[in-house]
Symmetry: C2
Subunit: 233 residues, 2 copies
DNA sequence: ATATTTATTATGTCTATACATATTAAGGGA
DNA sequence: TCCCTTAATATGTATAGACATAATAAATAT
């Protein structure tokens, strides 16, 4: 049996996506179940299951065992951004990657960081400030805190010759993370580090990682002026 | 047979993810195929297939028919951001959504836009500038262009009472899109519209949509001061 | 009438088998 | 030796059937 006779999961997915878009089913309402749809499309329930699973992943419907499949009232569009390693991003642009450690200090966790990442008072953390260059051009300023309780191996690392992210990726897995994209006006430090005028708008990426509910790292990255984060929908 | 005896696709996925992280297989190299892995894990090839498909989607491996499955040299982490409708985002924060059309003009496509979105010289476009409020507080300034060749129904729409995005979602599907996140220093117009000081750092979201290779809309959104776009990893 | 227990059900997933197909390797001819 | 054709192969996907399970509805007990 050739493809043009069999209904593929992509066919099912596209037809259902179209019906949702045309509000064939009211937002918020239940739509037909897998068995009914497999009869309609003349295909296996597993084929319908795959189509619906992907639509759920795309944010258009929500599914519950026994409860059925419901059209989302406010279907959401997702944009997936690649978060490349800084070295790859710079090299892909055709520049040499260069790294410089500005400061390395072991401290007791400050209260603001405790509150921010849900750490425990009194814990030791490693504070690193470093710069990443594209050739001779300042690309990114990094302000990072590593929890020495969840990542004790970091204590023995100078981070003189390896950037923290590359070390962490190799040495310490994480289970959860949070990313916050935003912007700030450059202050004196950022102005000097990134070679921009005071007050220049800087794109920022804040990131917390956890390992099994234990906060592990907190990093705030400040990108060079004019930085753009791009993705296809 | 109970779950603790059967190998699930999630078990397979996690074990393989761990092996990739521990560089059991060298980055860039071929890893064992589905048949071999199904024998190792004592499960169906379809179970391994699903695990590997998801790892490919997560950016850790790449797969080709006949060529096999290869560990990515530079595995990439993805952050998936929800792009909510502005009304939903504002209402979810507990505010009333308010919309105001600032300007509506039909024009011939400017050269810079032609170049930016790959349009054709001489085509008609609709230029809209509008504001979105959270209660009485300025939330977002929107500068949008709609191609009247690919979205002719927009010509008949005043956009006095409906925000362009809500209208477009309902009336015009799109097939492709591009999103660019960045930042700018507020100029005179943005300063007035968003009620921020001149030069304040503003988070921006630029978005182009296409319908079958035909550029349809171009929008640039300027968010209020302090805006943050958040996601979980 | 309410709470608890039991039954039902719609989705989640596993399996074996089969067919499809993009890609690579091997074989044959010029 | 090079080019074209054919074969092989590893992944992509469809199917039928089975089992698992979260969630809801119905039945039963108090």
């Amino acid at each position: 049996m050739s493809t043009d006779q069999k209904t593929s999961y992509l066919d099912v997915k596209n037809v259902i996506r179209r019906r949702i878009h045309d509000t064939v089913w009211e937002p918020g309402s239940l739509m037909p179940g897998e068995v009914e749809l497999s009869q309609e499309f003349g295909c296996a329930r597993a084929t319908v299951n795959r189509a619906l699973r992907e639509l759920a992943q795309d944010g258009m419907i929500e599914r519950k065992r026994k409860a059925g499949t419901r059209i989302k009232s406010a279907p959401t569009r997702h944009a997936k951004f690649v978060i490349p390693r800084i070295r790859e991003e710079i090299e892909r642009m055709g520049f040499d990657y260069r790294y410089a450690l500005i400061e390395r200090k072991e401290k007791t966790i400050p209260d603001w960081l405790c509150a921010r990442i849900g750490g425990k008072a009194g814990e030791d953390v490693l504070h690193l400030r470093c710069m990443h260059y594209a050739g001779s051009r300042a690309f990114q300023y990094e302000d990072r805190w590593i929890n020495l309780v969840s990542a004790p191996k970091a204590r023995a690392q100078t981070f003189q010759d390896i950037n923290p992210n590359e070390w962490l990726i190799r040495e310490v897995p994480f289970s959860d993370g949070e990313v916050i994209l935003s912007t700030v006006n450059a202050d004196q430090i950022m102005s000097e580090m990134l070679n921009v005028s005071l007050g220049a708008a800087l794109f920022t990426l804040e990131r917390i990682t956890w390992l099994k509910d234990m906060p592990m790292t907190f990093a705030k990255l400040y990108f060079h002026a004019g930085y753009q984060m791009t993705t296809r929908l």
